[in-house]
């Protein structure tokens, strides 16, 4: 299952026509202690590069963007009860939402793991 990354520090796992989206370990370390995650509703449309979710840390509210366009199939119910999962397991249990990919061509231009690591090292 290929995983891609954006320069806004979201990750996206592609599984056939669907994908799972979350934020990276680098992103959670920058945000600090997360106390609330506002997730998109099932059935809603998210657009590549546009607001899809909001992460509230103790410090501030931060937007999370959709890496690609699609229809939201499910939001992670575990984040309602335990938003700190985003800190403890950002790239696994702390996933944000799953979506039906509208256009696979949008995946082009996203980074792979090696490119994303190089990108973070350059920051």
């Amino acid at each position: 299952m290929p995983r891609y990354f954006t320069d806004e520090h979201e990750w996206i796992d592609v599984d056939g026509d669907n994908a799972t989206v979350g934020i990276t370990d680098y992103a959670q370390s920058q945000l600090g202690d997360i106390v609330f995650v506002e997730l998109p509703e099932t059935g809603s449309q998210v657009s590549k590069g546009k607001d899809a979710a909001v992460v509230e840390s103790v410090k501030a509210a931060s937007d999370v963007y959709a890496p690609i366009t699609g229809e939201v199939l499910e939001s992670n119910p575990a984040l309602d009860d335990d938003p700190a999962l985003v800190n403890s397991s950002p790239e696994d249990e702390g996933w944000f939402f799953k979506l039906a990919i509208a256009d696979k061509a949008e995946l082009e231009g996203l980074m792979d793991a090696a490119a994303y690591k190089a990108f973070c090292d350059s920051l």
């Binding site: 202690d33 509230e56 840390s57 410090k59 938003p83």
Partner: protein
Amino acid sequence: MSSESETETEIQTLPLDAWHRGKGARMVPFAGYAMPIQYAADHGGGIVAEHEWTREHAGLFDVSHMGQLMVTGENAAAALETLVPGAIASLKPGRVRYTLLLNEDGGVIDDLMVTNATPWIDGDEETGTEGHWGEPAYYLVVNGATKWDDIGHLREHLPDDVTLTHMDEQALIALQGPQAAAALTRVMRGVPESLVFMQSTTHDFGEWPLRVTRSGYTGEDGFEISVPAEFAQGLADRLCAEIEVRPAGLGARDSLRLEAGLPLYGHDMDENIDPVSADLTFALTKKRRETGGWMGHEPVAKVLEQGPEQKRVGLILEGRLPAREGAEVFVGDRQVGRITSGGFSPTLGHPIAMAYIDADHTGEGTALEVAVRNKRLAAKVAPMPFVPHRYYRGS
């Protein structure tokens, strides 16, 4: 955190800059200086970790951005009393008072701590001179972002026979938390024991001349230590060598002061807000409310008599979503106020806020709604502090 950064001016560094970076601090511009917002996790850092450590043990905060001023002269107290609504002339040596600088309209220019720092001059048995108090001196600690305006205001209004000195070679370190006294007494034997809340003393720590004040901005017992900049790092290291003490940044400082119900200048009050609306009436010394003689007295007396239109109150929010500065507060369709500070309370586990609310909706327990993005969050008016103060007032 809700503090604005000042990117338009050149960002300056403070004496402990390298010390913070050595502890993996994330530095942000604040009040014109690079300041640590939080430290690296391998130094026990993170806003919540630093917050909780301070509530349980002791946090060390660098607050060297704040303005430290000395006002001296035989008429210093009387002159200061023309500019602040608190009693200064009756403040005994070694005592500290929270007060306000007000403008002609009664708006708050700044909030500050005033210490009577008049030195005691020892007698000399050989020459037969008796011990006596020296020239009256008042030590002021003002906000970092407002210090230059404060200095301008004081210079303009203090008479020529009163001297204002900006102690810009001093750093300021706050040690805050229930174990602050235990840690400090191991470093400076007898000093914590000689002070209760809102008392201050000078102390020579080896060659380092310090001023130690039992006060702070977290709601906990603690101390603020003024130290010459060149010795700041040595003092910070010495304090952090104690098992109870870990560095804490601006992020924890903001969440701690919010829980303690302590307003932040520039957010929870400013020059367009009078002290009565800001719920700082306690800073208006009772007798001086009638006698006046301080800048802004007339407009403030009017608000005291008629009651404020809006008042700063505490809000407790339902759920986990915090409401931040600027969020509008409603009763039904009617906007009744606005949040000026808000965040998630690590100690309480739910969001809290300070807000200015129309006076007829400020009763404790009043149900309100806060608009955050497309949501309406249920909130109620709550007494402050949200987390009880634990100042040391003597055994």
